[in-house]
């Protein structure tokens, strides 16, 4: 589904990603871990098409299309969903209005009829249960005055509404208390199917107790320096990142 080959990217001339290779197939969950500043969030942003990141080398294909060639909105319409690390607030625009605009523009791109108000609302009701989100919250301005937990739940709710084929969760667990973490993970797990894939970017091993990955990759200094299964994450929790750094630094010398 997603194939990343030798991806290099930089911000304002500073290289951040230095040759990422990653294959993600339908039905899989990949976790990307790594110390602060290793390039985790950059990778997520590059895949979603954020402007300030410049791809200097490499290619990314998504469902056999050149992903890097598409505008951010077209990537979204093709089925790439990014759950933001810091969801953005938009004053005056209700979540409902925002989502309806989004859902219908995505449907239009996919050649589907727009949803009328009734159908849209019933779809919303159904998906709301998934992340235990309150309807009152959705009639308020998008993310404005939401608590950290509510913002993250709203991200997963939007994911449920847009039905993406590739979901990238960028530190969705950061700042969540244990109850909110359970709700969010539960939502993500229920949305999992054989036809979609998930990339979980996280800083805390704890998340992987709730969303169990098929593969774990360690990103360090702009490269994936180690890949493995859930056991790798456990090992990281125990030993920290230093041994990985040492190994990686040795290899580059």
């Amino acid at each position: 589904m997603l194939s990343i080959k030798n991806l290099h990217a930089s911000v304002e001339g500073t290289p951040i990603l230095k040759g990422i290779n990653l294959e993600v197939k339908a039905g899989e969950v990949h976790a990307i871990m790594g110390p602060n500043g290793s390039g985790k969030s950059t990778l997520a942003s590059v895949l979603a098409g954020r402007e300030e990141y410049e791809v200097t080398e490499g290619e990314v294909s998504f469902k056999s299309k050149d992903l890097l060639d598409l505008s951010p909105e077209d990537r979204a319409r093709e089925g790439v969903f990014l759950a933001f690390q810091y969801p953005v607030e938009i004053p005056g625009v209700s979540s409902t209005n925002f989502l309806r605009t989004a859902v219908n523009q995505v449907r239009e791109y996919r050649g589907l009829e727009p949803l009328d108000a009734v159908k849209f609302l019933s779809l919303m009701k159904e998906k709301m249960k998934l992340v235990e989100i309150d309807q009152k919250l959705l009639s308020r301005s998008l993310n404005e005055g939401f608590s950290g937990g509510e913002k993250k739940r709203n991200e997963i709710f939007q994911m449920a509404m847009l039905e993406p084929t590739l979901s990238i969760l960028d530190e969705t667990d950061s700042g969540l208390d244990i109850d909110a973490l359970r709700i969010v993970s539960n939502g993500v797990n229920q949305l999992k199917s054989d036809n979609n894939a998930t990339i979980v970017v996280t800083h805390y091993q704890r998340l992987l107790d709730y969303i169990v990955p098929d593969f774990v990759h360690v990103l360090y200094n702009g490269k994936i320096v180690k890949s493995g299964t859930k056991e790798l994450a456990m090992e990281l929790e125990e030993k920290g990142y230093d041994w990985i750094k040492e190994e990686a630094d040795k290899a580059t010398v």
């Binding site: 607030e89 950290g148 950061s174 700042g175 208390d177 704890r206």
Partner: protein, 417 residues
């Protein structure tokens, strides 16, 4: 810093510094003396003068002969909590009942576990650091979610000396969650100076609450410093309910040191008689993507006085900061006073900050409406005042504690006003 008269009071207080006490702190006092109203931060709160007139015995109060029964009597109803007892400001392991999975240790004056920077070089904080005798250090280890709140129970009474100096450090590791509730209970009606401080450090992704109830005798003087260093993705919430006392000064400082931090400060002060409560808050945003919320509400009757001073710093690096501050007051008498001063210092350009303050009277029309429906004036008043003040309590996490506060607030509004 403004020059401050160094007179007897400074010497008297300095004399209480512990022989092994923090020498840096003692130096701060020697240099600055204690603040008078000429000092910008103490402009409306002349606590130093009040100490001068009320305190005769400048010594640390001796521990009281307390029993488990005294402790049980001071407990909050229906609150299932671990208890850390301070006997006249000094940690008492015997009287405490501690939970599992975290460490509570005694700290003597020579060994501070850590120190959080105070931007104001507050002399009372320095005095606390230099003169406490038995402090407490609480450590919550990684991934620990405390299943019960920790009640910090301070039983106080002038005993030989009139100075009471509790000291507390809390260190919360990654992914921890905890609620601390501080309650001071006066054992008689004598005057004393309670000069406490709490320093809290959180590692990443922790969720810590610190609640405080001030409901002491009417002669009590109190200065309190709550200082916190908050790290990545962590949330810290402070709450203070001030009801009784003579003069109280609360300093709260939240240092949001990394991205993803959330700092909340809530306060409610319901004052009658001549009670004077001063809330000084500081929140310092240093890195991008942090948020702070502040809501303080007050009802002031008789000749009481409230002071609110809220500072918000947004440093140059702290883009995408959200900072909200609100202070609302109702004055019930012409002699009651409120001095409110929001202060925003913003150095970053992509931020969302707002502040608001209101001062008003009870809505007489609404009161009349209630009376016209058969509700007596006193109850009608209490109802309207609760409608104004109650929402601050909505932010409290522990149900039994929230009920306790609601009860205190309703009683106060129903009888004293």
């Amino acid at each position: 810093m403004t020059t401050i008269t160094k007179d007897n009071i400074t010497d008297s207080l300095l004399a209480t510094v512990h022989p092994n006490g923090n020498s840096e702190a003692a130096q701060v006092i020697r240099e600055n003396g204690f603040p008078t109203t000429k000092h910008e931060e103490y402009k409306f709160t002349n606590i130093t003068k009040r100490i001068e007139s009320k305190i005769q015995s400048f010594q640390q109060a001796k521990p009281l002969g307390l029993t488990q029964q005294d402790v049980s009597k001071a407990m909050i109803k229906d609150l299932d909590a671990d208890v850390v007892v301070f006997n006249n400001g000094q940690f008492s392991a015997e009287l405490s009942s501690l939970g599992e999975g975290y460490a509570v240790t005694n700290v003597t004056n020579s060994e501070a576990p850590f120190s959080i920077k105070d931007l104001y070089d507050d002399s009372y904080l320095a005095l606390n650091k230099a003169s406490f005798e038995k402090g407490v250090f609480i450590q919550v280890p990684k991934n620990k979610v405390l299943d019960k709140p920790v009640l910090l129970l301070n039983l106080v009474k002038a005993n030989d000396g009139q100075l009471i100096t509790p000291k507390l450090w809390i260190d919360c590791a990654e992914n921890t969650e905890a609620v601390f509730i501080e309650q001071t209970v006066s054992q008689d009606e004598q005057a004393y100076l309670l000069n406490g401080s709490v320093e809290i450090k959180t590692a990443s992704n922790s969720h810590i609450h610190y609640y405080r109830v001030q409901n002491q005798n009417n002669e009590a003087l109190e200065v309190n410093n709550l200082l916190t260093d908050i790290h990545r993705d962590s949330t810290f919430t402070s709450f203070v309910l001030s009801l009784e006392g003579d003069m109280i000064r609360n300093n709260v400082t939240l240092n949001l040191l990394d991205s993803g931090c959330e700092g909340n400060m809530y306060g409610l002060y319901l004052l009658g008689g001549k009670t004077h409560v001063d809330n000084h808050t500081n929140v310092d945003h240093t890195k991008p993507h942090s948020e702070s919320n502040e809501l303080y509400k007050g009802v002031l009757a008789d000749t009481s006085r409230g002071v609110f001073n809220g500072k918000i710093f947004v440093r140059e690096d702290a883009q995408k900061t959200n900072a909200f501050q609100q202070n609302n007051n109702i004055l019930l008498s012409d002699e009651a006073t409120i001095n409110t001063k929001p202060q925003l210092e913003i150095w970053a350009d992509d931020v969302k900050c707002s502040h608001g303050c209101t001062t008003g009277q009870l809505d007489e029309e609404a009161l009349f409406y209630l009376q016209a429906r058969g509700i007596d004036k006193k109850q009608g008043k209490a109802l309207l005042l609760y409608a104004f003040a109650g929402d601050v309590l909505e932010h409290l996490k522990i149900e039994a504690f929230k009920e306790y506060c609601i009860d205190l607030v309703q009683k106060k509004l129903g009888t004293n006003f």
